[in-house]
């Protein structure tokens, strides 16, 4: 490859094998078959095919709901499509990026990549240290060629050309006394290899982060403190190699939560849009030092043992439940989850200590409440202009079978609704801050003391992210090099000019790929560093 004239754009055969290998192909033993398959896999056509497959294969992940992103919507979709749903589910369409077929595509691609790049790197390494090939006999056959007659001896002319080529950063070698061979642009191939190798780095970084990273979410009402232990998380998803009992001991107290919404702009779709979220916290690190730190959207808090992101917010009405004797049996800031842009929020209050049966309340918190017969209870503005709590009450068994359940919904399978005032229908409780409702049948009372905001915090680590980022930037740099640098060969021959005693200098140029500038390059070489005239 280093001596051929074509500067082929084709990658070299992966095993560096010569044409002899091709001849033995008809009688393929098992080893021969493996070599054949390997060669197919590492061919550029296969790589191209796999690339296109990867592009097409990624699309369904954006058109079907994905379980890892929105589990509820996924379940809903499958329920809505009783035939297609389960089938597509089995085919992995709701977890495209974790599905075996998607993994097969990119793993094959990367095996192909390694099989392609490693031998190319070896060849490039040798080529870098070898000399440019011998000048062809007839330079006028090359794609770019010029001739000129100089007032100089052949040796002087050759020396001038050598200087000119060096000045243009060519590597120059004279295979004989009347010619020069020069080559430059090795960085093109270097860039190409760096690009492809760095892609492997990106993949390794992603895999590393997946195996050793974790993330956990917690909802933290104002005034409360979160301690970084497994039991304090609402959800926790560790990578396969993570020991979730070994978390950094730090605490975060939410001092206040500042939120603002659009009130000035009455334009389409803008009124009530969120404008700013900020959580003021007191962070106590493992060393016990407490400091005030702010967490905002786009400004996460780096703790050293995980990064804390502010990803959500909402309201946690403070609710107190008393029994008939007035003893407090439940008192807590209870987060309700926002369902729309105006923070119509749903939640539940579970009072396992109530007598004679356990008590449960479920319903809505409305920061600016409106209750109409058509839409039911809903909020018309995200801020607390007229906060209301609209609940229904149930009695019975809160945790049938002890199965885990969401804190925001009530499992009413083993519960019965408390009846309304007249003994029929369902009891509807509507409370504004400070109000108390007496429960029927001597069950005590429920009080809406007031409302706090909560911050939805997500704490995450990704040990692979630095590798991924560095590799991605390297890939970009390599890419730019490989696309910008031009690989060029220039050959020079000198000979006596018939009868005049002057010297004919013939310069031919050959570029990898088509290269519009090769002509100018040959002209520039010929006109030399100080001009040939």
């Amino acid at each position: 490859m280093s001596t051929d004239q074509s500067l082929s754009t084709q990658p070299a055969p992966p095993d560096g094998g010569g044409p002899g290998d091709g001849i033995t192909q008809p009688r393929l033993g098992p080893v021969g078959w493996l070599r054949f398959l390997w060669r197919q896999l590492t061919s550029m056509r296969t790589a191209l095919f796999l690339l296109l497959l990867l592009a097409v294969g990624a699309v369904p992940g954006s058109t079907f709901p994905q379980r890892s992103i929105d589990a509820a919507r996924t379940t809903q979709w499958i329920t809505d499509h009783p035939t297609a749903g389960p089938l597509l589910d089995r085919l992995g369409f709701f977890e495209v990026y974790a599905s075996p077929w998607f993994a097969a595509i990119y793993l094959l691609l990367f095996v192909s990549l390694i099989g392609c790049v490693v031998p190319r790197t070896r060849i490039h390494w040798h080529q870098q240290r070898s000399r440019p090939p011998r000048a062809p006999r007839r330079l006028e056959r090359l794609p770019a060629h010029r001739e000129e007659v100089l007032d100089a001896t052949p040796d002087e002319a050759l020396e001038r050309m050598r200087t000119a080529l060096r000045a243009r950063r060519y590597r120059v070698h004279a295979h004989d006394a009347t010619s020069l061979s020069a080559e430059k642009g090795y960085l093109k191939e270097t860039g190409n290899l760096v690009f492809h190798l760095a892609l492997i780095g990106v993949l390794v970084g992603v895999a590393w982060g997946h195996l050793l990273g974790w993330k956990g979410d917690v909802i933290l009402p104002v005034g409360q403190t979160f301690a970084n232990t497994l039991s304090r998380y609402d959800t926790f998803s560790p990578g396969p190699w993570v020991d979730p009992t070994d978390l950094d001991p730090f605490t975060i107290r939410l001092d206040s939560m500042d939120v603002s919404f659009e009130t000035g702009d009455k334009g389409k779709g803008q009124f009530g849009m969120p404008r700013d979220f900020r959580a003021a916290t007191t962070f106590t690190g493992p060393d016990g030092r407490a400091e005030r730190r702010e967490i905002a959207v786009n400004h996460p808090l780096e703790t050293g043992g995980g990064t804390v992101f502010l990803l959500g917010n909402g309201y946690a009405p403070h609710i107190t439940v008393r029994d008939a004797s007035g003893t407090v049996i439940y008192a807590d800031a209870t987060p309700f989850l926002a369902q729309d842009n105006n923070y119509t929020s749903v939640g539940a209050v579970k009072v396992p200590g109530a007598q004679p049966d356990q008590l449960g309340f479920a319903g809505f918190f409305l920061p600016t409440g409106v209750i109409d017969s058509q839409r039911g209870p809903h909020s018309v503005f995200p801020d607390t202009l007229d906060p209301q709590l609209a609940l229904t009450a149930f009695s019975g068994e809160l945790f049938p079978g002890g199965a885990p359940q969401s804190v925001y919904t009530l499992d009413t399978a083993k519960m019965t609704p408390l009846p309304g005032k007249d003994g029929t229908g369902q009891l509807r409780i509507l409370l504004r801050p400070g109000e108390t409702f007496q429960l029927p049948g001597g069950r005590g009372s429920i009080t809406f003391d007031g409302v706090e905001r909560f911050a939805g915090l997500s704490i995450r680590t990704d040990p692979g992210k630095t590798l991924t980022l560095v590799s991605a930037l390297l890939a970009l740099a390599g890419l730019v090099l490989s696309l910008v640098v031009r690989r060029r060969r220039v050959f020079v021959r000198v000979g006596p000019h018939e009868g005049t005693g002057r010297t004919v200098v013939s310069v031919g140029g050959l570029a990898k790929d088509d290269d519009e500038g090769m002509d100018d390059e040959v002209a520039a070489v010929l006109s030399g560093p100080e001009g040939t005239r």
């Binding site: 060629h145 702009d265 404008r275 905002a296 786009n298 992101f309 990803l311």
Partner: protein, 329 residues
């Protein structure tokens, strides 16, 4: 000046730009109509081009391929040259008016004007025009004008009718200097991809015509455009500018996603499509370097990539549920 007047001025600027660009489009069309070779001159056209080409080379011994040279001014009728001159001035004017529209919009909202679909479309159209007029100061691109100004007008039309959003502040997750970096480069890249796609389509048409090369085929303005080979090369040049830019866009987006959403890659629909676009264009560059693959097929892959660019803007923003819900619609 109050923001309200700024808003009005911005809109007037965009409307005037559209009027001017419509006229520019017509002038570009007239130019192409006027350079159609007359029936009797068709036979001479080819050798004439060769001659002109050879004449431009500096060294007598070298004959560059005729196709690297754009149609020489000498063989154009005066009316064509006049139309091209008008088209050029009008395109510049339309571009400047659009720049003014964008700047006024930015002044009005006191922020980088890339917060919703209307603004993306406006700025994307602006970069496409700037790319075209900028490039045409360095080489003769009068033949390309119609194929750039027309799609730009379509985008602007959609922007003011379907995507129009009153100016307003940004969602908290958009408040970051990464907005300026990531989204600006993204829109610039889309502009370059647009140039590349226009060239790619022209290449495929020219290639078809050259292959068929009947008398009828050559009796169109296409005969005066650069050869298929030259068009293919220009297609490639635009894409090797755009592809690293898109790579950067994706990396910058990932860095920002980590800050705003906690994880650098979430397979959110917009991210999926950015990835798909990246892979398609990577496949294009790959296909072009693969021996045994036809250049035509490689360009088809690039055009598939561009279809994804369009879908990523017009469909993904509006219809697919994700975290990139900034369309303002």
């Amino acid at each position: 000046m109050t923001d309200y007047t700024l808003a009005q001025l911005s809109n007037y600027s965009v409307y005037s730009s559209m009027v001017v660009l419509t006229l520019a489009m017509l002038a570009h069309g007239v130019y192409l109509a006027r350079i159609v070779p007359a029936r009797e001159s068709v036979a001479e056209a080819a050798p004439e081009r060769e001659l002109v080409a050879a004449g431009t080379a500096t060294g007598g011994a070298v004959t560059p391929p005729a196709d690297t040279v754009a149609p020489a001014a000498a063989e154009e009728p005066a009316s064509a040259r006049k139309a091209a001159g008008i088209a050029r001035s009008l395109t510049w004017l339309g571009t400047l008016l659009l720049v003014a529209g964008v700047v006024l919009r930015a002044a009005e909202v006191h922020r980088w004007p890339l917060g919703n679909m209307y603004e993306f479309a406006l700025v994307g159209a602006m970069f496409t025009l700037l790319g075209y007029v900028g490039w045409s100061t360095r080489r003769d691109l009068r033949w390309l004008g119609l194929f750039i100004v027309t799609p730009v007008l379509l985008v602007l039309g959609a922007a003011i009718t379907v995507w129009y959003t009153d100016a307003s502040e940004l969602m908290p997750s958009l408040r970051s200097y990464w907005l300026a970096i990531h989204v600006t480069v993204a829109t610039m890249t889309v502009a370059v991809f647009t140039l590349g796609a226009a060239l790619g389509v022209l290449y495929l048409v020219q290639d078809r015509l050259e292959a068929g090369s009947g008398e009828a085929g050559r009796r169109s303005f296409m005969a005066r455009l650069p050869s298929a080979r030259a068009l293919e090369r220009m297609t490639y040049s635009t894409h090797i500018v755009a592809f690293p830019m898109w790579t950067f866009t994706v990396i910058a987006g990932a860095i920002w996603a980590r800050q705003a959403w906690g994880s650098y890659w979430n397979w959110d629909p917009k991210e999926v499509w950015s990835f798909v676009i990246w892979v398609f264009y990577a496949a294009y560059l790959h296909a072009r370097a693969t021996t045994g693959w036809k250049r035509q097929n490689a360009v088809w892959i690039a055009l598939a990539g561009f279809v994804c660019v369009v879908l990523n803007f017009a469909v993904v923003n509006v219809f697919l549920v994700g975290m990139h819900s900034y369309s303002g619609l």
